[in-house]
Amino acid sequence: MALKFPIYMDNAATTRTDPRAVEAMLPYFTEKFGNSASRNHVFGWDAEDGIEIAREHAASLIGASSKEIIWTSGSTESNNLAIKGTARMYAKSPEGTKNRGHIITCVIEHKAVLDPCKRLEREGFDVTWITPPPDGVVTRQMIAEAIRPDTILVSIMWVNNEIGTINEIPEIGKLCHEKGVIFHTDATQWVGKMPTDVERDCIDLMSWSSHKMYGPKGVGALFVRRRSPRVRLEAILDGGGHERGMRSGTLNVPGIVGFGKACELCCESMDADRERLFGLKQKLERELTSRLEVAQVNGHADRRVPHIANISFGYVEGESLLMGIKEIACSSGSACTSASLEPSYVLKNLGIGDELAHSSLRLSIGRWTTEAEIDYAIQAIEKSVNHLRTLSPLWDLFKEGIDVSKIEWQSH
């Protein structure tokens, strides 16, 4: 089959919506278009039925009860609601005071976790920021050492979105339940791709997003445990009392229906997808690191999800590499996904070095990635890296045997 360009390898940023999910959504725009809060007519009932079927699918994907699913606009909102909602609900002293409670998180979390935690710091909460070792894995041991008698919340992502490392989530969950601390995980890069059981793994709050698992953008979910313990949250969006009072606002009916369908599809194809993607990722990493000098896979050697490969190519700047392989849509630690030009804080914080952060490429594959695309990517990246090294003054220095990191650079 002929390749179709550009090849999409940025599935960690967002995924294509599965056409079956789009098809499921369509009737809810123009036929069953009611407001699910309308209690008195069939348009409202149809919308509510759609919502509740989706809730069942979302719940069964993660081993929860459907009453434990709160719909949001996406992972950012889910994370904000979980973190701020818990802190403000379980605060040990009122607003305007200090020492309102202790929160543990990690410096390589997504900004949607970091920024709410920073805000809570300003609101009088105490935050411990764990820095994982260069392999990127947050362990039970690190949390155990950080927990204090006044700890109210631990928030650790299941999978890091840039390097794909898997943290010790079940172990941390069990620890938190032993210690009576509420445990939140941002599972945006995990759910739908890997088997999930919030009950077994002692998760209290879990965020995830439709558009990272082949559903539409603009919808997310927050799992909120209802028993042992029953978790309560202070809402962020007030008004009307939808979603058990935790999230007011007219529900995005078509979006939720599409998300539900995407959950159902992930349930069905997760095992096959996972194995196939793992094989493709292995090939990509193996070929690139064997064909090219000074190419390193970032993150832990084994504890990584099958869809994210993050590789640094020494002495080549990432953005220029993206330009050289413009028929492949992927991202680099060099140019942040938001408007900033700072290199990836994730790679920086792991002590990989700013230079290798600037030289990194994230290739994230998905349901429609083919082996032919992987083969093409390998060729294209090899060629472009070699070309850029002919332009690179750093490559010359490296080849002369000079340690680039020892030079005193004239920064500007």
Partner: protein
């Protein structure tokens, strides 16, 4: 944030890539001025080597660049512009001209600044090697 056609052209066909030798090779050559600006941890390093004759005319220029497409294009363009120019003329090149020629977006202006810096730095190196005190040395340094 698509790149302009001129940036793409310079990226794909960079002009005057290369060097007149390694840093060590050219360290003692009085006809060569070398400028290396930027830093790897900032994501861009530009190396410019100029061969300048006795009349102070830039006979040849070579660059290497570790940096994004706009940085590569800026340094490539700089070599094109300064070849054949006198040192004094080369010093009149301003980063804003590079921004205009390449249609750089605001987030990429620093690339043009780096290119201007590399010209000044290479000329300063040449002047230092030849014991020339530039008339406007203080002014130029203060400009950045």
């Amino acid at each position: 944030m698509a790149y302009s056609e001129k940036v793409i052209d310079h990226y794909q066909n960079p002009r005057n890539v290369g060097s007149f030798g390694t840093s060590k090779d050219v360290a003692d050559r009085k006809d060569i001025g070398v400028g290396i600006v930027g830093a790897p941890e900032c994501g861009d390093v530009m190396q410019l080597q100029l061969r300048i004759n006795d009349e102070g005319v830039i006979e040849d220029a070579k660059f290497k660049c570790f940096g994004c497409g706009s940085a590569i294009a800026s340094s490539s363009l700089a070599t094109e512009w300064i070849k054949g120019k006198s040192v004094d003329e080369a010093l009149t090149i301003r980063n804003t001209q590079i921004v205009e020629e390449l249609s750089l977006p605001p987030v990429k202006i620093h690339c043009s600044v780096l290119a201007e810096d590399s010209i000044r730095s290479a000329i300063a190196d040449f002047q230092k090697k030849n014991g020339i005190v530039p008339a406007n040395a203080v002014g130029a340094a203060a400009a950045h």
